[in-house]
Symmetry: C2
Subunit: 468 residues, 2 copies
């Protein structure tokens, strides 16, 4: 079972540091209880005391100055974007200052000809897409929440259409980073590829603010697809739904989205959203491309699904129809949460090679069903990634223990199948043991020695990914 | 101009180390002059004394044992795959033992359902593709030379079809690595995506053997395309050829290959291969997909090219015809080299954002033409990457100086255009100053501190990427 790691004693902001921050940041600085509390919780299921203060950075210089001051006083700095982390990335587990970058939300340059854009880290993905709509381009990565681009880069986020467009790993080209000593460095260029030294961009992406703080992010854009078509389809069993996905991927169909709900989750969605979907395992799909290519993809997938007993295909080609079809997927999380008033969701995030997906899903479903815990299940199945939400009563320790045990069994299964404990949410505060189980002590020791080399004082978001 | 870096005094193998290696490796160990010399040169233009000895590793254990022995005697270890580096990656610039992994060329497991394969590092890309032909899958990355997969991963290699399939950065999923202390660690899993801690896989990919030695590499495979079509097309000017490429990329056409030769290089190829191609800038293209998609792509690109004055389109759909069409590209390097008997090519490798490609190419062409140095030019223009080969008489220092000056001007131009000094060949021994120019002293200091943390004795391929 995951143990909550034991953190070293917090290093709280001293009165001297607070005075220095007040002097430097004036109205960009707050110690109000409400502001601190708002910056001390995320969407996850773990709590921690709030940060000692919050600084609202408005420039790279602000970030560098804050880090220098914090370093001089040996106090942690915890970056904060949109607050949508699910794994406690923004918790002040060891005390310190929350660095809110949400005011750093400018687009620095759109390079439409190169399909790139450089933004400040606080811009949200929806703000970005709204602002670049006129270019005919879009940024596809969609983790569900309207996360900040900086936070998505820090978490190595992905979401529903990673199956076609990749994750933040593939889509961040370059970064401006403030180091633990307050120095501003640049990683990468706008060139599409490079063999120039160590791939610092990819090292910082997914480092959760523990190695440096992003102040600019250069990401890839894509042409808005000429045609988009969406479909839902029901299957007699999860196995047949998953087999449809596997064949689709193996045949190289460039499907843009393919999501799974199990029969139980469809039932929750029907209740929540007053729908009348067949209460059977369901795939939700989306195809992007030229009209001809979209039609070809749709026909291929329909044929593959037909061989697996897929039926009740419904198609949508306009944005409104697509939204209606995808309601089930969009509402699954809330349908789950609201099916048990007052509950909290312990969310899992394993990702396995697609050949093992059916086994992993079926064994895990059986386990959760016999545990008796309420749950929901959604999956980015084209990537082999799925999420259980175990719906626990937060006042019942026994339920949390049972959920953690299920989560650990699931992770152990995924690792046995050559998968990962986290496809897109990150390790954060709560999956450190899983990381050791997955990567081995040797690889975690390498990560730790990189952290020690780049942040010798351990002031950048300490207590995340691994203990010091 | 690039200065050749000053290397610290070599740390040569001591008689004690040689005796220990002889005892441990027996007939897998050699100090013969011929074997050492063969392992002391690559395809680049820089020379160094040969390694002190060569060990032919046959297993991960062999690699770990060699590294432990070398570490105990504080002597460098230099990994050697196929010897096809262009940047001196395998030179024993600071003395030491060459670790030849070419006997480690087994396929460990093909996971056709997941489109992955795990191999030992010494297998070459052609060996791999031959061995997996029966699965209907292939490994697309094609740097020209029949490089080893381990070497390609270490260099972050790419080549002609990276425009569609990405580079080694996108295609290595996981590694087994022997660390500087001889410990075996694993990075990554076979899951398609992960947010589990630092992205060690991407850190090791492109690290040129300076952070660890690869003993297993898990890479992505792709379904062999159902249809393949190739074409060549001539243009009135480079600008119009490049504009065709830019529009193709911007419109999201998933072109698999798009290569450029300038008029002068077409002339060299005509002379070399007795062809009668129009001596004008030429694009060579390849389209992969379903028959319908290939036809659609081809029609779109033909229309785009037509608007840019493209003419003399020739199409090929069978493998034999395609080979004939692509002869010009395949022979460009040799046509260049053989156009000046006894010459050596100083090869450049810049990569720029595609919007700057025409400017970068035209300014650089003008420069080389007015320099009077013989040259050839080929380009992976879909990625904004191109190579000049400056053909110098190796006995004339003045020509080398002139070539280095051209190379430096080209790199400075690429960096001004937000590009990189090396798209795919790596920094090696010879582009260290360029790396500092491109990444800045701060980013290089970060790289160096990672190196110091992971290889405190500096025994893993020292003197590459940056000085200690």
């Amino acid at each position: 079972m995951t143990s909550n790691p034991t953190f070293p004693p917090p290093r709280h902001a001293t009165p001297e540091l607070l005075a220095a921050l007040q002097a430097r940041f004036a109205e960009q600085f707050s110690t109000s209880q409400a502001v601190r509390e708002q910056h001390g919780r995320d969407e996850g299921s773990t709590d921690a005391p709030p940060p000692d203060a919050v600084v609202f950075a408005e420039s790279t210089q602000d970030v560098a100055d804050l880090v220098r001051l914090a370093a001089a006083h040996n106090v942690p700095v915890i970056p904060y974007g949109a607050g949508s982390s699910l794994e406690g990335h923004l918790l002040a587990t060891e005390g310190g200052i929350s660095l809110d970058v949400s005011r750093m939300n400018r687009i620095i340059s759109v390079n439409a000809d190169d399909l790139t854009v450089t933004v400040q880290p606080g811009i949200s993905r929806k703000q970005l897409n709204e602002a670049i709509k006129h270019t005919g381009l879009f940024f596809p990565i969609d983790p569900g929440a309207d996360a900040s681009i900086g936070g998505m880069a820090a978490t190595r986020a992905s979401g529903t259409n990673a199956v076609r467009y990749g994750t933040m790993r593939e889509n961040v080209l370059a970064l401006e980073v403030v180091s633990a000593s307050g120095e501003v460095i640049r990683t990468g260029t706008r060139a599409k590829k490079s063999s120039a030294g160590y791939d610092l961009t990819r090292l910082y992406v997914g480092s959760a603010g523990t190695l440096g703080i992003f102040t600019e992010v250069t990401i890839r854009l894509y042409p808005l697809p000429e045609a988009v078509s969406a479909a839902i389809c029901s299957f007699p069993s999860i196995e047949e739904a998953v087999r449809t996905v596997i064949t689709t991927i193996q045949m190289g169909v460039p499907i843009a989205r393919v999501e799974l709900l199990d029969a139980h989750t469809v039932r929750l969605v029907n209740q929540h959203s007053k729908l009348s979907l067949r209460e059977e395992p369901m795939l939700l799909m989306e195809f992007h491309g030229s009209p001809g290519s979209v039609q070809e993809q749709a026909e291929m997938v329909q044929a593959i699904a037909g061989e697996q007993g897929g039926q009740a295909f419904e198609w949508a080609n306009t944005p409104e129809e697509r939204t209606r079809l995808w309601t089930a997927r969009h509402n699954a999380y809330f349908a789950g949460i609201q099916s048990r008033p007052g509950c909290r969701a312990v969310t899992t995030d394993v990702c396995v090679p697609i050949s093992r997906l059916a086994d992993c899903l079926l064994e895990s479903l059986q386990e959760v069903e016999s545990s008796g815990l309420p749950y929901f299940l959604v999956g980015h199945v084209g990537d082999g990634n799925f999420h259980f939400g175990y719906l626990i009563d937060p006042d019942k320790d026994e339920e949390r223990t049972r959920a953690e045990a299920l989560s650990h069994q699931l992770v152990a299964r995924a690792i046995r199948m050559d998968g990962t404990c986290t496809g897109e949410h990150g390790i954060g505060t709560h999956k450190m043991d899983f990381l050791v189980e997955e990567a081995g002590a040797g690889a975690v020791a390498v990560m730790r020695s990189i952290k020690h080399a780049l942040d010798p004082q351990n002031i950048l978001n300490p207590g995340k990914i691994f203990t010091w």
